[in-house]
Assembly symmetry: C2
Homo-oligomer: 274 residues x 2
Amino acid sequence: MATCPAARGLEDDAAVIPFGSETLILTHDTLVQGVHIREDEDASDIAWKLVAVNLSDLAAKGAEPLGVLVSHMLGEDDQAFVAGLHEVLGKYDVPLLGGDTVRAEGRRVWGCTAIGRATCTPVPDRRGAKPGDAVYVTGQLGLAMLGMEDRGSGSVADLAYRRPAPLLSLGRSLAPHVTAMMDISDGLLLDAARMAKASSCTLALDAARLRPLAPAGRFEAALRWGDDYQLLLTGPDGLEARFAVTKIGIVQEVGQSSLLLDGHPPQEPLGFSH
Amino acid sequence: MATCPAARGLEDDAAVIPFGSETLILTHDTLVQGVHIREDEDASDIAWKLVAVNLSDLAAKGAEPLGVLVSHMLGEDDQAFVAGLHEVLGKYDVPLLGGDTVRAEGRRVWGCTAIGRATCTPVPDRRGAKPGDAVYVTGQLGLAMLGMEDRGSGSVADLAYRRPAPLLSLGRSLAPHVTAMMDISDGLLLDAARMAKASSCTLALDAARLRPLAPAGRFEAALRWGDDYQLLLTGPDGLEARFAVTKIGIVQEVGQSSLLLDGHPPQEPLGFSH
């Protein structure tokens, strides 16, 4: 993605800041119209997604949100944007701490910074997976993909696409038990490969366990589709008995490929790179 | 500026977040090419300004920076951007905590969030000016204006424009002594009017005290020019004996105009609104 190695440093996990006896988590995401956001997206859905994707980063850290800052590029639809902002902040009981508005012609850009308080230390990240761990995922895969094809219908899939739900409560419950955790924003396979590389190991996934999580006939696409904002995690065996997670594979010593699906490297591209 | 009243809430001061026994300060600024940044600006200067304007917001709070998150829209000049980022972060000893990079066609947008730790409470804001207070300003006015006309020369003015210096140390020294403080980003008159309105009083400024701070023959323009990132503050008489500030007026009970220059409302426009 980034052509400059130093700029790639900006792609890191959320920031973890020890602060007195507490630990702060800071995340920032930028959404660009036509890149992360469809040209015809409703402004209230844009506001929701902007906040939700940042809260999802906090969820993957097991963090409790303290608030968000929002940067909004003004347009014709500011009322709808503000309505969506109020909806998502109200739903997750998160205060709007500030931000800024700018006015400019052309392609619109939105930014959100979320700040949270870690509820457990060490704070989970993508680097802690260890050979012998089990690999788990929350929820369904590909629901947002179906939702994008079914936009505006009000179906469960439509809502999953337009109004992703950050898994704050589940993330907090899981955090003390995981060895690694991240949210799936760019597709399961791509994000699993990232976790494997960051942890210097191989994630070996089992198609038979993944298949029931994907919509019928869309298995390959669902594994490569982003926007679901489910959590990917590793940890001891048995977590599926205590939490709403599905075991999908195991962590192995690092091999030739950092990611295996039924023993073979999955076909590229693994997911959505932007 | 904003057409929607609720969106204007995003224009508030930096966020102040009580956190355990400490107080956190969070600021976010977005810079848009062609709006806040000239089309031909060097990417290293853009990176410097992006970080510096946020650190200036922390300076006005008397806060100590804990770090920044940077959102960078990739382009042809990423190396220069990263070089400028390293320069400004090194100069002020501020860690880069994270952020993101995005790739998109068209007008470029950059965002920065700075987080800081308050060094004194109550944290100064623009609402605390009281009748009887003196009004002070730091430094020179209009230096950035001269610098914009003299770009690339390497002069003091050129540097003031391209590489504004956040007054972190002076802000921390002043914070325990002020009743109100803010940085001047959109011109002295406009920001003084904002402070007066937020404090429900009138700021009465004295041209004879301001004139020596402005370049010869450019008095009216210098009072309306942004980008200087000096501090505007109110407090007891005598601060000029202890700190590098100039007394420029007094705070009065609120009158018909929230801002007076030699007893009269200054001519509109007061400054740079964007």
